[in-house]
């Protein structure tokens, strides 16, 4: 069997056999990325919405900066968080380096700009449509942000899914701040990087397929929830 064929059969065996080690790293990936996306939702979406509605000097520059930060290399975020959390760094006394918490912090920094940038566009488009209406109803900008975040929630799901995709698939940041420690900070992506460096390419691709399956499953659930909510509340 060639490499790719082997990878598919390995992936199937990993999924069907419910390998405990694989379950452990899938669970950690979900925990870490899930928390980062939760932070991203709570911080990034309102931030983006404020930027979409607010009108103040320097706003255009902020929008460009935010959009640019969508391309922030994960390795750079990893190194910066490493230096901050290192025992010799400003936050060293908390001893967070090489822990899942460090990975959540790094991934939060990665997904907040991405989720805020998407939210900014979505809310700004809606603001253009409803500005007159909301102003006539006497809403200030803070109330408008609140109303638009609520009204745009189905579109904002894309921002959440994009954040989840970015967090689950990045390897540069978690590798540096987590250290890829077995049973502690090994995630799907760092495990894939490890198997690649051992030259076990079929297993690396198999783990990649498992990761893809998990992300697809999450997207499927999100899609179904959205359909259900739209039917229910439309």
């Amino acid at each position: 069997m060639n490499g790719l064929g082997l990878a598919f059969s390995d992936a199937f065996a990993l999924l069907a056999g419910f390998d405990r080690r694989v379950a452990e790293i899938v669970l950690l990936s979900l925990q870490v990325s899930g928390l980062a996306v939760l932070f991203g939702t709570v911080l990034g979406l309102p931030l983006g919405a404020c930027l979409g509605v607010g009108r103040f000097p320097g706003r255009q520059a902020l929008v460009v900066l935010l959009n640019g930060c969508m391309g922030l290399p994960s390795v750079v975020v990893g190194v910066v968080v490493y230096l901050a959390l290192s025992r010799s760094g400003p936050l060293g006394k908390f001893g967070l380096l090489y822990s899942p918490a460090a990975m959540v912090i790094a991934q939060t920094l990665l997904v907040v700009p991405l989720m805020a940038a998407i939210a900014r566009q979505v809310v700004e488009d809606a603001w253009r449509d409803y500005e007159e209406e909301l102003t006539a109803m006497g809403f200030g900008w803070a109330d408008s942000v609140r109303v638009l975040l609520h009204d745009c929630r189905h579109s904002l799901l894309v921002a959440v899914l994009a954040g989840l995709g970015r967090a689950m698939s990045e390897v540069g940041a978690v590798m540096i701040v987590g250290g890829n420690i077995e049973h502690s900070t090994r995630t799907m992506t760092t495990a894939i990087a490890l198997e690649t460096s051992k030259g076990d390419l079929p297993l690396a691709v198999a783990l990649g397929l498992v990761l893809l399956a998990v992300i697809l499953l999450l997207n499927g659930i999100a899609h179904a929830l959205r359909q259900w909510a739209m039917r229910r509340y439309a």
């Binding site: 925990q31 870490v32 928390l35 939760l38 932070f39 939702t41 709570v42 911080l43 309102p46 290192s86 025992r87 010799s88 760094g89 060293g92 001893g95 967070l96 380096l97 090489y98 822990s99 899942p100 918490a101 959540v104 609140r146 975040l149 609520h150 250290g179 890829n180 420690i181 077995e182 502690s184 900070t185 490890l194 690649t196 460096s197 051992k198 030259g199 076990d200 390419l201």
Partner: protein, 271 residues
């Protein structure tokens, strides 16, 4: 709405705290080590024995030796297990580490395409082998990552009187042993590997060991405690317990017992 945001934020912070405390449950030390020891499978074999014996979990961060020493200098590990004697001695002399001890050794092997265009198989010794590679100008992939293996490679070029940097045939990967072997396999190039990583490496394609056995290819590993006087948070007692164990008869037995197939990969020190 603002209340809702606060509630969610609280939830997220609680989740983070739970993750952080889960990571701190039970006593553990951080061992910064090399990719060669991690990827050869040695740690997976010997650490459970130590953990069962001591109740101390060992968290291995696998890096190159240069990087592992940097992590130690910053105080981000408790114990180091590395292989670059000159750099290790400097680390201790500079006051960053204490209690350096010999642990084990294995050897470096020269690998390359089985056809061996450079004729390394017929080399008199390791220095001659490196000279032949430079003389023929066959492709060479260097680690280029300040690892112990990289330091050893640079010593051989120097002994052979070759300045490889900037030559067309000399490619610096800036990567661990595994990725470097992946590159060498893909390009049909030569490289220097530690025997442990080579033995556990799966994507060999056309690569084979072409030269080995010269005493100069000796590759000793040492263990160092990060200096608790410089970094007070270092887990001194647990770290020393690990150092005592890995250099004890029980640790030596565990190291000797690790094999891939029938091949023993590491030999305890002192001999």
């Amino acid at each position: 709405m603002a209340h809702g945001i606060l509630k969610k934020l609280k939830l997220a912070v609680l989740g983070l705290a739970a993750l952080a405390s889960a990571a701190h449950a039970g006593e553990s030390i951080v061992l910064a080590s090399t990719t060669s020891t991690e990827q050869s499978g040695l740690f997976n074999f010997i650490l459970p024995i130590f953990e069962k014996d001591s109740g101390i979990a060992v968290k291995v961060v696998a890096l190159g030796t240069g990087q592992a020493l940097d992590v130690g200098r910053r105080g981000d590990a408790d114990v180091l297990l590395v292989h670059d004697r000159a750099a290790e001695d400097k680390f201790v002399a500079d006051g960053y580490g204490v209690d350096r001890r010999d642990v084990m050794y294995n050897d470096f092997v020269l690998v390359g395409p089985a056809a061996d265009a450079a004729g390394v198989k017929g080399a008199r010794d390791a220095v001659d082998a490196f000279g032949r590679i430079a003389g023929k100008g066959v492709s060479w992939v260097s680690r280029g990552d300040r690892s112990g293996t990289h330091a050893a490679e640079l010593r051989f070029w120097q002994s052979a009187g070759v300045e490889p940097k900037g030559q067309g045939w000399y490619k610096e990967a800036g990567a661990g042993m595994g990725p470097t072997l992946n590159m060498a396999a893909g390009m049909g190039a030569y490289t220097l590997a530690d025997r442990g990583t080579w033995a556990s490496f799966r994507n060999r394609q056309d690569l084979a060991i072409l030269f080995a056995g010269d005493p100069r290819l000796y590759n000793p590993y040492g263990v160092i405690l990060v200096n608790p006087a410089r970094h007070p948070h270092v887990k001194r007692a647990a770290g020393e317990r690990f150092i005592d164990w890995i250099t004890s008869p029980a640790g030596r037995r565990a190291i000797s017992a690790y094999r891939i197939g029938n091949e023993q990969l590491f030999y305890p020190l002192p001999k």
